[in-house]
Amino acid sequence: MDLSTGAKSNAHTPNGMIKPGAFRVIAGPCTVESYDQFFEGAKAVKESGFGYIRGGAFKPRTSPYSFQGLGREGLEIMSEVASRFGLKVVTEVMDPYDIELVMEHAEVIQIGARNMQNFSLLRRIGAAIAGTDHGAILKRGLAASVDEWLLAAEYITSEGAENVVLCERGIRTFETSTRFTLDLSAIIVAKRLTDLPVIVDPSHAAGRRDLVIPLSKASVAAEADGLLVESHHEPENALCDAEQALSVGDLKGLKDALSPFAGAMGREVV
């Protein structure tokens, strides 16, 4: 059954992160906690058949007293471990001073939801990655409209950056049974309006492990170009976002779980 008629599945980035007909899965822990922890995380990502790993070195936490990430040491652990497994690294930058350092250790810079309208950061990242193979993932702000999100992306692309990807991560609504509300329509609307690929972060949207796989399936059907998903080798002991990380078992089953849906949309899970 081919359900892809009418869906836009040719979005891509010149660096190959997003490819036409492919559904890109980026998985990994919320944060780098130690060499051993990230090593186990990377091994699970590799064994699950995925090529991109996520991990945080600088964590934007709501409370200044929560764990803030390992910083430079975290970046070094990520790049060393990722290169052993042949994985590409996605990590967040919060401070313009860290852009260069992060680019030495990661292929893709993530801009968090809380920084979506930090326009000087967006411009600097755009200028830094312009003309390189480095990419940027721009998360949608928790209260941003689709137009505001696209205009924020314009700050990055207008500096000459080409490998820019949008990421829907849930918006704030009155609903309390999930942490945020995943806005599936925003994926489709954004894809109708721009050529930028759109991926989905079901982990932060739901804040609950049990919803991550069903929401991932829904994202495939809603024409998304990929996923940014949290996984941990010991979710119950994760230092942050423990309740939303997929276990190694779930991560290894993710490709099989998504493949029938991706196939129906004319895509292959990579």
Binding site: G6, A7, K8, S9, N10, D147, L150, L151, E154, V189, K191, R192, L193, T194, D195
Partner: protein, 98 residues
Amino acid sequence: MTEAEIEGRIRELRERVDDVDLALIHTLNERARIVQELVALKGEAGVALFDPKREEEILRRAVEKNDGPIYDSSMRDIFEMILHRIRDIEIQRSEPRQ
């Protein structure tokens, strides 16, 4: 003015408002038809629909051409609404680009 005169005058002004509204409806639909053509053409050419530069140009022009009594900021709001509502409707009608 007598009560009857006031009533007559009100009726007359309301009729003029109705005529302007009718013209607005026709004009807005004419605008939508042009946008429809534009969306189809962009689709064929594989050009992205989202064009914030052009949008800003239209909004700036709406303010420049405005000589009141509507406030400039209100004229901008009205045009923003027209732009987005028409764009969204025309996108729904069109097939997504491949």
